[in-house]
């Protein structure tokens, strides 16, 4: 079975025909060409496919595209605005929050989901929010630091 879905992907309204069984990660990667969301474990265990659905983090590899009909989807590709990196992207770049880079899109989107609801998270809150995201380079210290510095940079910029 197929159906028409209306999605807002990174600010762009799209209407598309999808199979009922199509997963969101496959839709984004294969149909939209947005390959930032990664297929790591492909089973909801590693967080590399994390995107935001209506502002909340979701695992795109265990989400049916048809089940998010009408939703606003944000991926790593939509984070930089007018050629400027987002606060999290800049912080990951400047503080070595990225090593091999495979987990980075998922890490940044999960962190973005946290900062949307909590602009000044504690270290424990960051650890909890990123608890479902694996980094096999094991660069967790720098990742947590990057999120803290992004939160601080955003707070300073809005003062």
């Amino acid at each position: 079975m197929k159906r028409i879905v209306n999605l807002n992907v990174n600010g762009r309204q799209v209407e598309d025909v999808v199979a009922d069984s199509l997963l969101l990660v496959d839709y984004l990667r294969d149909r939209q060409g947005l390959t930032g969301a990664k297929k790591g474990c492909d089973g909801g265990e590693c967080g590399a496919c994390t995107v935001l659905v209506d502002g909340r983090p979701r695992l795109a590899c265990i989400t049916l595209a048809a089940s998010v009909d009408g939703a606003k989807i944000e991926t790593i590709e939509g984070q930089a605005k007018n050629g400027r990196l987002s606060a999290l992207q800049r912080a990951f770049h400047e503080n070595l929050g990225t090593q091999c880079g495979f987990c980075t899109p998922g890490m940044i989107m999960a962190a973005e989901g946290l900062l949307k609801s909590n602009s000044d998270p504690t270290e424990d809150q960051i650890k909890t929010a990123l608890g479902g995201n694996l980094c096999r380079c094991t660069g967790y210290v720098k990742i947590i630091r990057s999120v803290q510095l992004a939160a601080r940079a955003t707070a300073e910029a809005t003062q």
Binding site: M1, R3, A19, D20, S21, L22, L23, K39, C41, D42, G43, G44, E45, G47, T50, R56, P57, R58, L59, I62, T63, L64, A66, S67, A110, T128, A129, G131, G132
Partner: protein, 318 residues
Amino acid sequence: MSEVMPDFQLARPTTLDEAVVALATPEARIIAGGTDLNVQLRMGLAAPATLVDLSLISALKTLESSTSGTRIGAGVTLADLASDERVAAYYPAITEAAALVAGPTHREVATLGGNLCLDTRCLYYNQSHWWRKSNDYCLKYQGDICHVAPKGNRCRAAYSGDLAPALMVHDARLEIIGPDGIRQVMLADFYREDGADYIDLKPGEMVTAAVLPPPKGPSGYRKIRVRGAVDFPLAGVAVEAEETKDGKRFTIALTGTNSCPIMVDMPDVLTDDPNAFFANLNKAVQKAVSPQRTTTIAPHYRRLSIAAMAARLARELV
């Protein structure tokens, strides 16, 4: 894993009545958050003709609390359940259990109903299709032998929901809707010790809510798991401590060690000799459980761990 999804039709009812009609179609299955079922579909562990998506039914997402008790809709997400202040005040075991299910991103969409009905798990079952085929499948699905207990006649897969014991110590009932109307069942009676047939849900039925009486006393939930931030319980325990005229009485429920969540029979109240009492409690839990080789972690370790956790948690609640 990278296996393809099977073909199915997705039904998206917006009311309970529509959901019951959709569920009455042949080979229909419920999907709520999909955090477990979508993984199973990829592994070839289910091939439904229709998936009935409950996520648009607002009637399932209400959480009501009053002096006479609390009613939690089956569609309430675990993230919402874990952050609800009323639940935290009256039923701390439920808050703690909800916060310890899987990872934060799973909890955003995973639901109470999905966790209560969570499929049993086993080393020989939660594997890709080619893995299971090369092992001649297993008793739970597509095969004839339980590889965990080949001489036995039932599936030994372990029930691994975290919420069930936390709700059971608080005497929860389930509301179930189906073709024959609405019925209620005590949560403790909803499960049975058979990994292949572990819940009392007839074709076409679905859980709509859990109903809790006012709490009898404080409670808590503890679990052990392989990966601290994201995992099913190797063993989990909920304890409620009730003050009676004879002394403190503990209600204990366990998960992860059997094919269903189980209550531990604890007839005694806390005596003047707490060390002896908690040693007995530890022994009673060890005796009640029967962990099998369903995970990579040794059954004996899980038996000792769950007993130790139960005794420690009971002490904390005194």
